[in-house]
């Protein structure tokens, strides 16, 4: 039932990407280069993983699967960091994004594998790797948006934050508005996905399972599980970001420390 795609089919889609890049360059929107790099990356990365996925899933070594997971988390953390316009200095920037991904994805996946899926062994790669991948892919978008919003606002509103400190507010009170906004920004994508699921969009994993012959209700149950994990993971991830960054924005006397921020 699967219709095979020919190289010609793919080049039609590639042409669209090229057109968008050209249009963006013409309108000076400044994304063409990044768009082309991202398109090449997705092609190469997917081809490579497609080649080794079968071997990967056949592996039974826990250490190897943990290693793969840490590589996935670090790469996602790096991607988040490279999208920020303003970063924390030193290793803090990478630490914040990777640390929050660890909470949002690794711990949630672990919990799910141990208590819900209960495969044998629990780290069975055909469950662990795609699950972690889906969580990382989705929560990293939310976390990147949350960090970006928080840092931008903190930078733009620094006189206002100091004004609130001068009036005797605690550091947490002084950035309460910023925290709310960052949380909202981070949660928008997954909230949209949950609201639109089934009515507007058919989630890829669920559709894939059904097309491959799985019972629809079983596929749906998996999709609901994933949605709940992504939303709670994103929320927890953004909360850890807020906590870590606000620790870093203020010193022990709740003074705003902008020397710790780096401009892109």
């Amino acid at each position: 039932m699967l219709i095979e795609l020919t190289p010609l089919d793919l080049s039609i889609a590639a042409l669209l990407v090229l057109l968008l890049g050209g249009l963006s360059a013409y309108m000076k929107l400044g994304v063409s280069r990044q768009l082309y790099i991202a398109a090449v990356r997705t092609t190469v990365q997917l081809l490579l993983i497609g080649l080794v996925l079968k071997t990967l899933f056949a592996s039974t070594s826990m250490a190897f699967i943990l290693l793969i997971s840490f590589i996935m988390i670090s790469v996602a953390g790096w991607e988040i960091l490279s999208r920020q316009q303003r970063k924390l200095k030193g290793w803090w920037g990478f630490g914040v994004s990777t640390g929050s991904l660890f909470v949002s994805s690794f711990l949630i996946t672990l919990l799910c594998l141990l208590t819900v899926i209960k495969a044998d062994p629990w780290y069975a790669p055909q469950y662990a790797i795609p699950l972690l991948g889906m969580l990382l892919g989705n929560t990293m978008t939310g976390i990147a948006l949350g960090i970006d919003r928080l840092m931008q606002n903190a930078w733009q509103q620094r006189p206002l934050i100091e004004q609130r400190l001068m009036l005797g507010q605690t550091a947490a009170e002084a950035i309460s508005g910023l925290r709310r906004e960052a949380m909202r920004a981070g949660m928008i994508p997954i909230m949209n996905s949950m609201a639109a699921a089934g009515l507007v969009s058919l989630p890829g994993m669920m559709t894939g399972q059904i097309l491959a012959g799985a019972a629809p209700v079983e596929a749906v149950k998996y999709q609901i599980l994933i949605m709940f994990m992504i939303s709670s993971g994103t929320g927890l991830g953004v909360i850890s970001v807020l906590w870590l960054i606000s620790k870093r924005l203020f010193d022990e006397r709740e003074r705003l420390c902008f020397k710790r921020l780096l401009k892109e």
Binding site: P159, Q163, L165, M166, L167, A171, G177, D251, R253, L256
Partner: protein
Amino acid sequence: MQLLQIKNLQFLHCYSINLQVNAGEIIGLSGVSGSGKSLLLRALADLDKHQGEVLLNDVNQQSIPPHLWRKQVALLSAETHWWFDTLGEHFSENFTPEFLENLMALGFSEESLQWSVARLSSGEKQRFGLLRLLQNKPQVLLLDEPTANLDETNSLLFENLVKKYCAKQQACVIWVSHDEQQLIRLCQRRYFLENGELNHVN
């Protein structure tokens, strides 16, 4: 009684600032732009890193939680900032008779609190900024060129309110200004900040 004691305060290019301020006293501070007047006030409010000791009623600044210190040692910066849409939201809700009296004293009415922040002039912002600060009942007022944007009449209203508050609460004030006449009119003692040193003006 010495309300505020500054001992050996060091920040940036100022290596040793010493000053004692009594309750009920208004101290005038002037100096050329960039001499560190604003930074001195920021260090007193503990908004910047600094060395040396600052004591309020013999209690060390560093031994009090920072937000409680800043309630007691209140800084009115040269430019005030507002984060809600209307003025009133920036004030604590129960308007004491004293607060309403202060509001009138600066030429406003209770209805003024309905104003949108976007329409405020810089002078109005300074005056409402003082009222907002006084709601915390600070013991030390650090005023950074507070009347720079005010006309003469409003400057006098502002000065009178600060004088009255200071006397009534037995608070003290450090008033930064470029206007020598204003400082002579208001202050018991005046200082000039130059080359990182605080010099008494006779």
